[in-house]
Symmetry: C2
Subunit: 416 residues, 2 copies
């Protein structure tokens, strides 16, 4: 290439990239010092693009390649990462390209990551079995890896995770002696909380081996193994009848084609007087996770729109009683996780390498941005069999202790 052609193609690729990110107010600096500065506005940060191939790929499809290039260290970003990603996400909204290659990648991922019994096990293993020691570096002390509930934005993460577990338990009006089946139990925090603080008897399912091992150990350590059984198995193998079906953060991994199956299982395992709860990442309208997220972070995952999620209930005589959208709480939760992750990034790099750190930095920052701008939502759905007429009269009980502060320890013994 002559220098002239090089300059021309560079400019052209840069202009394609700028269009794709919706002319978000960021400064772009290329490997040779070429710059693009937003007109009439201060840039909120700078993106350094380190070589030709990286620029070319970003121009083709930033959504597909940003992750790969960032993880590989061929992109560097100066500025507040969640803020910049939020700005790009807001600006690029609705400009999503539907070129044949990204579409093909997307379909290929869907096909290879289908959530069959074996597929789910592989998909879950890749994310949740990275190592408990890694997650301990940046989650709260109980390892609750789902959206917390901040009674006030200034709440601590530890407090907000306890508040979330209580919020959930209050929604289903958990009573001493209630039998609970939990589908997707993570490291067991909620199962143990329901047993310890509400006197429930819990059977908790999970296909992540690492998590189940940890949860079982914790149950023994806390003297709760008589009350909580951790089962290393798929939700599709749940049998028996329960007072409460509980699932926090699993629907994302169920996959769109399996909602009817999940509904059937819920219907089958709930007593007539039963109650159910589903907490999941969703959307305002149907849209897959980006191919990068599905390839590197959450294989097989799909965040349904609220409408899509209701397929779980509609054909299975289940009545939706209460839906709450907590997306700002997830933005806040992720802010805490990201801060903690950054503080431990050297340790993570030692454990899993510098490219892993960059990958997870982008995942956590991108998720923060998504919940902040609203491309992702967090839905909590409380439901019951249609024939259950003993449902709560109002939702006042969910808030009856909030005013006195979170005096959960004082409040809980009165329940058990």
């Amino acid at each position: 290439m002559t220098a002239h052609v090089q300059v021309g193609s560079k400019k052209w690729l840069l202009s394609k990239l700028l269009a794709a990110i919706g002319y978000a107010p960021v400064r772009i600096v290329l490997w040779d010092g070429t710059q693009s500065v937003p007109p009439r506005i201060d840039p909120i940060g700078t993106v350094f693009i380190k070589d030709w191939r990286c620029l070319l790929r970003l121009a083709i499809d930033p959504e597909l390649y940003l992750g790969e290039e960032f993880s590989g260290g061929r992109i560097e970003i100066q500025g507040d990462l969640p803020e910049m990603l939020a700005a790009v996400s807001s600006a690029a909204c609705g400009r999503r390209r539907r070129a044949w290659f990204p579409r093909l990648v997307s379909h290929w991922l869907e096909w290879t990551q289908n959530n069959t019994l074996g597929g789910s096990r592989r998909n879950i293993h890749r994310h949740y079995d990275i190592g408990t020691d890694f997650y301990k570096l940046w989650l709260d002390s109980q390892l609750v890896y789902t959206c917390a509930y901040f009674t006030h934005p200034s709440e601590t993460l530890e407090g907000a995770q306890i508040a979330k577990m209580n919020h959930v338990c209050r929604k289903v009006q958990l009573q001493p002696g209630d039998t609970v089946v939990e589908a997707g139990c993570g490291w067991g925090a909620l199962a143990l909380h329901m047993a310890k603080c509400y006197g429930a008897r819990v059977k908790a399912f999970n296909i992540s081996h690492e998590q189940i091992v940890y949860a079982r150990e914790r149950a023994v350590r806390e003297g709760l193994s008589g009350q909580v059984e951790f089962v290393e198995d798929d939700y599709r193998n749940i049998t028996g009848k329960f007072d409460v079906f509980m699932s926090v953060g699993m629907l994302e991994h169920v996959g769109l084609g399996h909602y009817d199956e999940l509904g059937e299982i819920i219907q089958r395992c709930l007593k007539v007087t039963g109650r159910g709860f589903l907490h999941f990442i969703g959307r305002n309208r149907p849209m897959r996770f980006s191919p990068w997220i599905r390839r590197r972070i959450f294989p097989g995952a799909y965040p349904p729109s609220l409408r899509q999620s209701l397929e779980v209930f509609e054909a299975h005589d289940l009545s939706v009683l209460d839906v709450e959208n907590l997306r700002l709480h997830y933005a806040q939760t992720l802010k805490h996780w990201l801060d903690r992750f950054e503080r431990s990034s050297d340790k993570v790099a030692e454990m899993l390498g510098p490219s892993f750190v960059r990958t997870w930095r982008l995942y956590l920052a991108g998720s923060t941005a998504a919940f902040r701008v609203g491309t992702l939502q967090l839905f909590q759905i409380f439901f019951a069999p249609a024939a259950n007429h003993q449902v709560p009269w109002t939702r006042a009980h969910q808030y009856s202790d909030n005013r006195a502060g979170r005096q959960e320890q004082k409040w809980i013994p009165a329940m058990s």
Copy 2:
């Protein structure tokens, strides 16, 4: 017919009828004294069938003909009507017949009652323009003709309607000076409440002439006509930008084919910082109103499943923030309405004739039963434009005054 054949056909028709009502525990007595008594259980009431034709029709399709025959006085019922209808509804659940004739009637109704601009006007006129004097006989003093909110089941109807209006206003966090557009405003109670108690400026749409006339008079009488404008027009003609979109009890009349249109109007009329509210009768799963209800009570009406109702939001950048199901509150509201209606039934008969009384008795009792057993649901959806990030942090504000009892008068001045 010989006596023998007559006895045979009667028995056969009776057996068809019993199967159609799912062998619900009711005694059936025919015109000649022939009886069918439920085995091994005390009947909860008695159905008197007064002639051959009536028995024949009920055997063909009880859902289609019960109303006609009951209104015509050819069926009489002894016992608690809502309780009996609830028992039949529960027992017959899932046994709904799909014969060609009822299906044809259903499609014919759908076709002739389509909610075009003109169609809606005709449909609404038939129900809501029966006469305000009639509705005054059995609604609360403010003529709120939608589900009330009982902070406790023993609440009075008047109190529960005020509590409902406050519940709604709290959900949208109504502030002094907020501009509100209300789609379908009935006799204006909520519009006036929002103005008087929350300091909002309201533009309220309704195509029922009688209701608009009454609402305007009330606004003048209460000195609120500067703050509330009642517009006799269709929701599809709403223009302008507002802080709040409010609709209580209209979606049922919009019709399934018009949700996208409604969503477009909501999207267009809400400011970015706006909030919206939809309150409507719905279902756990898609099912039309019975042909009788559509023919005699609510022409053109359809109670969507929650999933169907979300079509309003999904394509229009609206984010669902909160859904509450208040079906038991509607059963309670209807119990009050039916009790008051029965106490005024002589006056109603004088006004509108004895057949009208029977028709409305069945409609009110049938609706009570439907909300009690769960064939109908009542959904309240709070939503906002997807780009509105100033949404409530929690829902605690909805309940912050409930504990002190409904001291609304004390609480409200502090808001305005």
